[in-house]
């Protein structure tokens, strides 16, 4: 499975993790939030992005990263 890091503008509480397929939800720099974790496939990724869009959170970046060992 690929790992992704998605950054949005605004601060989301870690409690939202369940809503986003158990990705970790952590504060990022400058009032942003970073969601990080494994994503099953492209369809799952677009599903996550749609959910972020539907909350009105401006999307800043989507990056594929190394899975943690």
């Amino acid at each position: 499975m690929d790992c992704y890091e998605i950054q949005v503008q605004g601060r989301l509480d870690p409690r939202w993790s369940g809503w986003f397929d158990e990705l970790t939800v952590a504060a990022g720099p400058d009032g942003t939030t970073v969601l990080r974790g494994p994503v099953a496939d492209q369809a799952a990724l677009h599903g996550l992005l749609a959910r972020l869009r539907d909350l009105g959170l401006p999307l800043l970046s989507v990056v594929q990263v190394e899975a943690p060992r």
Binding site: D13, R15, G18, R53
Partner: protein
């Protein structure tokens, strides 16, 4: 496959009374009467609110509204809703398109029919699609692009969406055909924020506080609404606002928590528990929350503006505002994940008991209760299948995991039925093999909801295999399998004894064995009647009558059709409209009357069919009616109108499962020959690659016989010889196939080709018992001397005289259609007749206007008057009524 409509999706939401006036935005939209109006912004920006406010302000335009959801990604659902909404807003515009859609026609054909109506629509219509992002996808987008490109000026398309659609926006912008409202436009300005907060909170807020709120929420109405809710009744608003402004948490999160925290615990529980529901109603919420009084709770939520949106005007169904619902669901997942499965289970049970198995299954699956979902599915399928609502359970074939299907053969075969009825054959054989594997297991290992269904499975497997064979071009295999299916059918099976013979009949027909096809279809019709599928009886009876005509049994065809018509009448059960297919019966009876040269009855039957209109018609009826009317006009000598009618027939042509053995171009060629235009008829033969030395085949028999007529009309020795050879081979083939109807016609032509009375005698003997007359007239004027000779030689024989009378007195025996002025209370003016003539063609509104050198508005006004005077509400019906009344004859 009809789609069952969820009425609430077509409900036009009323404008909310308590809105802040935003003249800045009103100006944007009323100025823009453009082809496309796009409101594109994320959730919670007030898109739907804005649209409903515009519509309320703009009375006099009809509104077609669809609130889309994810199920509308499926093109059949999407177009059904769109055309239904259009038809409700502008009655008559959607019916033709919906019929074509139901007949499985490609989307462009469907839309062309709708656009044909819309382009001359007297009124203006707004077509609003709310939440378009939910339906947009590769399956719906191409049709939308097509529709948008050809939209007439009367129709404005309005899309509200969270993501820009994949439509040519740049091009529309450049042409000034796009009005856009985006997030930046929808954000509340400082002034608007002040006005909103003061109305919503009922408080006078400090300017600094308002400014802090405006800045923190960035004019996003969803968060302003939540902020207003949180502020109401607070003693110290400034403290709250300072706390809010100083916090950097996601605004909705912060505010929803604020709102939730201020609710009594029972209400909070209610909100979280019901968050799993797409749509809410009192009893459903009671079941899910295991309380009572939910109806009152919902009404109170609406009164307090707590994010419920009514979905009808009886205050029975609601939904949560999307953003609010998302946050609630997230809270539910975070706080009470262990409750989610149970909530879905109770929702599933409620829907199952309420007679909505689709949502019952969906909730069961959402809650992870796959076994329960399978149970519900299996219980629901028999009735859904009986009501031909296969669209409802088609998706279960994808959604139910394989593991739950491994020991449920009855469910398995039900899902196969859904796939077959949507013509998706790829995965079927694999599933059938697996079901056979299951049937070999010891019975205790199987899960079957209704034990009576299990013995029916083996026959069903063979029946579906027969359909697969037929579909893959193996009619012989299909016949074998259908026979097996009948052998395996149980006493109480109602489906297989009807469907298997029908498949067999179709296969025999494709092989040209009409006698076998006839036997099979007769069995099928009896089986369908026993199964109570009366609408199917009508369709099959039409096929049976077609076969009987081909076999030369005009009398049998008459009886078949009359029986079916009587059956249809009996089963109407007092419904306002007769069953769909009744009009088709009348048209088929009209054809029989025409064959017997009873032109008065033929015309009367067509008139009755026209009066019954679209609701009583199968999708094929528009073209069949026009072909029948063309024959009547041709019999009256009005060949020009006959040709026009055939052109129209081709434009509205829809096929069905039966082999297309009477192609319209061949019928047109026959009229051309009668009109003396041999050159055009010869061109037809060339275009369709027909030659006198072709090998006769049943499927092209009609065309080959037509070719023989054309060759004889050419009146050269060479053509005559070619015709003779062709006719002799056609005769041998028709006799071998028992196709007496064709034999009569071919013999008449042979008599002309050989200038010999003997074949004519044979033909008349065959024709006499059932009264075939007009079939002889296609042999042309050269038959007349032969008939006269025969009448002289055999004065006691009645049939040749009858045919001779028909041949020579043709014009006299047709009742001329009464002139328009005697039939219409309010006759059409000359100008209106001009427009009507053009409505019969395929020009769109603007082209008609150009042709008449008037404005489109003038055309629309004329059209409106035409519709009123003819008592119709759409173009297609206006044209058939016009033909019916003889208004278009020359």
């Amino acid at each position: 496959m009809p789609v069952t409509l969820v009425e609430t999706k077509l409900f036009v939401p009323p404008a909310r009374a308590d809105l802040v006036a935003r003249p800045r935005l009103d100006g944007l939209v009323s100025a823009g009467r453009t082809r496309l109006t796009l409101v594109s912004a994320p959730a919670g920006f007030g898109k739907t609110t804005l649209l409903t406010a515009w519509l309320a302000a703009d009375a006099g335009r009809r509104t077609a509204w669809v609130s889309l959801d994810e199920t509308d990604r499926d093109p059949e659902a999407f177009w059904t809703y769109l055309l239904t909404a259009l038809d409700r807003a502008a009655p008559g515009t959607g019916a033709a398109g919906l019929a074509l859609l139901g007949a499985g026609q490609p989307v462009e054909t469907v839309l062309a029919a709708a656009l044909n109506e819309l382009s001359v629509l007297p009124d203006d219509v707004d077509l609003v699609l709310d939440d378009y992002h939910l339906a947009e996808g590769p399956e719906t987008q191409p049709g939308m692009a097509f529709l948008l490109e050809r939209l007439p000026p009367q129709v404005r398309l309005v899309l509200s969406t969270r993501a820009d659609p994949a439509l040519p926006l740049a091009r529309l912008r450049a042409r000034g055909e796009l009005t856009e409202v985006r997030a930046a436009d929808l954000r509340f300005t400082g002034e608007e924020t002040t006005a909103y907060l003061s109305t919503a909170t009922g408080m006078e807020l400090d300017a600094g506080d308002v400014s802090a709120l405006a800045s923190r929420t960035e004019g996003w109405i969803a968060s302003l609404q939540l902020a207003a809710l949180s502020l109401r009744g607070r003693q110290d608003p400034s403290e709250f606002i300072a706390g809010f402004a100083g916090d950097d948490r996601y605004v909705v999160d912060y505010l929803v928590e604020e709102v939730l925290d201020r609710q009594p615990p029972e209400l909070r529980d209610f909100l979280l528990a019901t968050a799993i529901l797409e749509r809410l109603t009192g009893p459903l919420c009671d079941a899910v929350t295991q309380t009572s009084g939910s109806s009152r709770v919902l009404e109170s939520l609406e009164r307090r503006n707590l994010f419920v949106v009514p979905l009808d005007d009886q205050r029975r169904w609601y939904r949560y505002h999307h953003l609010f619902a998302d946050v609630l669901r997230a809270h539910l997942l975070a706080e009470r994940p262990e409750q989610v499965a149970g909530l879905h289970r109770r929702a599933s049970d409620w829907y199952a008991a309420a007679g909505d198995p689709a949502l019952g299954v969906r909730h069961a699956l959402a809650g992870g209760h796959v076994e329960r979902a399978a149970e519900l599915a299996e219980l629901a399928i028999p009735e859904l299948a009986r009501e031909r609502r296969e669209a409802v359970f088609r998706s279960w074939a994808d959604e139910l995991p394989d593991e739950v299907l491994r020991n449920r053969p009855v469910l398995g075969i039900g899902l196969v039925g859904a796939l077959m009825s949507s013509n998706e054959f790829d995965d079927v054989e694999r599933r059938l093999v697996d079901i056979e594997r299951q049937l070999a297991l010891p019975e205790p290992e199987l899960i079957v909801m209704d034990a009576a269904e299990l013995p029916r499975v083996p026959a069903a497997i063979e029946m579906y295999r027969s359909a697969l064979a037929l579909n893959s071009g193996d009619p012989a295999g299909a016949i074998v399998r259908a026979g097996r299916a009948l052998e395996l059918a149980t006493e109480d099976d109602l489906l297989v004894p009807a469907a298997a013979p029908a498949l067999s009949g179709l296969a025999s027909w494709a092989l040209g064995d009409l006698a076998a096809a006839h036997r099979s279809y007769s069995t099928a019709v009896a089986g369908l009647e026993r199964a109570g599928r009366i609408a199917d009886v009508l369709g099959c009876s039409l096929t049976l009558a077609d076969l009987e005509l081909a076999l030369g049994r005009l009398g049998d065809a008459q009886r078949t059709l009359e029986r079916a018509l009587e059956l249809s009448d009996r089963h109407r059960q007092g419904a306002a409209t007769p069953l769909r297919g009744t009009a088709d019966m009348l048209v088929a009876l009209s054809r029989s009357a025409w064959h017997r040269d009873d032109l008065a009855s033929s015309a009367e039957l067509l008139r009755r069919a026209d009066e019954l209109g679209e609701p009583a018609s199968l999708p094929q009826n528009p073209y069949r009616w026009r072909v029948a009317m063309a024959r009547l006009r041709a019999a009256a000598g009005d060949l020009a109108t006959a040709l026009e009618l055939l052109d129209e027939a081709e434009r509205v042509y829809v096929g069905d499962y039966s082999p297309p053995v009477h192609p319209i171009p061949a019928t047109r060629a026959r009229v051309l020959v009668a009109a003396g235009d041999v050159a055009a008829a010869t061109a037809w033969a060339r275009q369709h690659h027909l030659a006198a030395d072709d090998e006769p085949s049943y499927l092209r028999e009609y065309e080959h016989v037509t070719l023989a007529r054309v060759l004889l009309a050419q009146e050269t020795a060479e053509a005559g010889a070619a015709a003779l050879g062709l006719l002799e081979r056609l005769l041998a083939a028709a006799e071998a196939g028992g196709r007496d109807g064709s034999v009569i016609e071919i013999l008449a032509l042979l008599a002309v080709a050989r200038e010999d009375v003997e074949p004519l005698v044979r033909a008349l003997s065959l024709a006499e018992p059932d009264g075939w007359i007009r079939v002889f007239l296609g042999a042309g004027p050269r038959l007349t001397p032969l008939l006269q000779e025969l009448v002289r030689e055999r004065p006691d024989w009645g049939h040749p005289r009858r045919v001779l009378e028909a041949a020579t007195g043709a014009a006299a025996s047709t009742p001329a259609p009464q002139s328009a002025s005697t039939r219409l209370v309010d006759p059409l003016s000359e100008r209106e007749l001009d427009v009507l003539r053009l409505l019969a063609g395929d020009l769109d509104g603007p082209d008609i206007a150009r042709h008449l050198v008037v404005s489109l508005n003038t055309v629309r006004t004329h059209t409106k008057h035409i519709y009123t005077k003819l008592d119709v509400n759409n173009r297609r019906s206006a044209v058939s009524r016009a033909h019916q009344l003889g208004l278009l004859t020359r």
